[in-house]
Symmetry: C2
Subunit: 138 residues, 2 copies
């Protein structure tokens, strides 16, 4: 089993070298062994761990949450309710974001629909942005 360079590790997990080093600094992956030439040398479990991180990051978990999930994953006998709770909280967060964006989308679409062309002076869009009447000056 040949050890992985940081470049291979990165490309196998769809990240970049810089990001891997950043994760190391951020304490998400342990500092790996070094070769004679001071190159980082990774093993299969590092690949696993990084994939786990990528997957959870892609699902929108923050680095703090990822750290927590990693810790939970390491403790095989723990009740998985905490994992469920963290994931569920995150799901609610996503729902909130979707709801917020949906409101915003409707509002913006309304503003845009009111535009009938013409010059800026007659523009309904800018009018909708300026809460009271009159030009936005200087």
């Amino acid at each position: 089993m040949k050890p992985l360079t940081i470049g291979r590790l990165a490309s196998e997990t769809g990240t970049t070298v810089e990001t891997v080093r950043y994760y190391e600094r951020a304490g998400l992956i342990p500092a790996p062994a070094r070769t004679g030439g001071n190159y980082r040398s990774y093993r299969a479990q590092d690949l696993e761990r990084l994939r786990f991180i990528r997957r959870t990051r892609d699902l929108g978990f923050t680095l703090d949450e990822v750290r927590a999930l990693l810790e939970m994953a390491g403790d095989r006998d723990r009740d998985c309710g905490t994992v469920d709770a963290l994931a569920s909280r995150h799901l609610e967060e996503i729902d909130r974001k979707i709801a917020d964006l949906t409101v915003l989308r409707r509002e913006l679409a309304g503003v845009i629909a009111s535009c009938a062309g013409g010059t800026v002076a007659e523009c309904r869009i800018l009018e909708a942005f300026a809460p009271s009447v009159g030009q936005v000056r200087s």
Copy 2:
């Protein structure tokens, strides 16, 4: 018409003093006149301008986009098509975000639904996060 202090300007527009100063540094609002005691002194049009900024920020435009909108708003004879275009591009962006979050939401909800409790060792959630089989180690 009494001039506004930065504190009043901020509270009237639902921002903070720090944010107003930040907008000045960022070139969104012009540097105002100063009083004898070196206090910033704002006028009615600054209030307008700041409200415009807040409104567009609340609609999710970036500071760069807000800067562009402000510039457009200042040129009364310009065709408002550019405004429409910018707003429409932003709407598409929001739609993309909603779509992305919706995909992600479905995926995460699926992962969570698979959890039947038990210990971490049996946890389907963590299993779903770990792309291949086996513990996420050290």
